[in-house]
Amino acid sequence: MTKTFLRSTVAILAVLILLSAAWAARVGEAAPEFTATDTNGQVHKLSDYHGKFVVLEWSNRGCPYTQKHYNSGNMQRLQREWTGRGVIWLTVISSAPGKQGYVTASEENAYLKQVNAAPTAVLLDPTGALGHLYDAKTTPHIFIINPQGTLIYNGAIDDRPTTDLADVNGAKNYVSAALDEAMSGKPVSVPTSRPYGCSVKYPD
């Protein structure tokens, strides 16, 4: 009896902690731990990457803001540059089944090949659990976690909130700026910005 009571109390507490998760992805605080499966069936935990920089990039290939960065080659360039420098780059797809942008693992793998993308992995998040944990709003929306597990950036990919390919050149890229600064031991000068893009297509 007491055991059941204790168990349900623990369960309720766990739910409460999950519900308060929107609070958890704040710059300067520990990034919330997660477990998610990629398009090759591999399981990734944030804590697996302790000691490395981690970029989370929310994506939706049908969204014109995401397309701006893939059709221009900008996203692939960033993925190659930063994974080449030891960064773990995790693309996340939180579109729910039946919603715009939902893809199966094999569809996504074919697409990655087609656009020559180079993230470390693409995490499939059809329940939206990871998206809600970080309170991802848009595609793209970028989070950067430092080697100590602290969130150091939450916001847009750059400072041109448009769908124009022409705006990629000349934009200030917040991801590169934050990683450059953090890797040379400086504080991130723009730690947050308004993420811009299409809304993440969470389940209803």
């Binding site: 992805a25 014109p64 709003k137 730690p191 910005s193 811009y196 893009g197 299409c198 809304s199």
Partner: protein, 273 residues
Amino acid sequence: MVVSFRRKIGLLAPCVILIFAARLSAQPPANSHARIELISEQNLAPPAKPLWVGLLFQLDAGWHIYWQNPGDSGEPPTVQWQLPSGFTAGPIRWPQPIRLGGGTVIDYGYEGQVLLMAPIEAASKGHATSIPSLSADVKYIVCRELCIPGKVHLTLASPPHGDWGQWRALFEQTRLQLPKPAPPGWKVSAESNKSHFILSVRGAKQVRSASFFPLEASQIDNSSPQGFVSNRTGFQLMLKKSDQLTKPVSTVRGLIIVGPGRAFEVAAPVVSR
């Protein structure tokens, strides 16, 4: 009564200041889910007053465009005017928006039909002049579940015969939907704690419900419920801070909407506790 008064004005007006509306027929891009026209309230630039023109968006059911602060996603339409020398365009006057979306992603914008008005000013304000030749490059994004960006070049043309009255009424209706300065009796301030701004309006006694639409991005969390409390002197709104807000702000700016046609623009000085 109102209608017949308007009709009389409508008949008299052409004799006095020649009020007509000019209209243009834009070629809407196929499958854009938005038809956009550049329309004018009058066909003569009135003396000593701006000429009001507007971008009239007509959206397919379920599709929307965005307010000046789009909220969590999207972006507002932008316009680049081409005007004859001696004319300048003022900023768009944004009518009160609605909340769009659901769950943890909330946007601000418009569905159905919306007129985005802007004043065109002439350098010489002596007398009524013929309508300047105007065109506009408009960029916008229209979304339902999917988002489609659009780009259109619009030119102000003459209205079809007898069509002008229709537009004038639309300008008048839209004016009623523009935010107004806060009533003179309102005293607005915002208290800041770790997680929330508590927006207080004193001197607003008859307000039963209110919602806040932020003018600045990344000040408040758009999707959090806004707790409303009324008391003897006015009311308070609890506004959760945005995750993107990392520096203290001195002013919380936005609209307090207390009903249709009752949107008030406020700039609440922030007091920390």
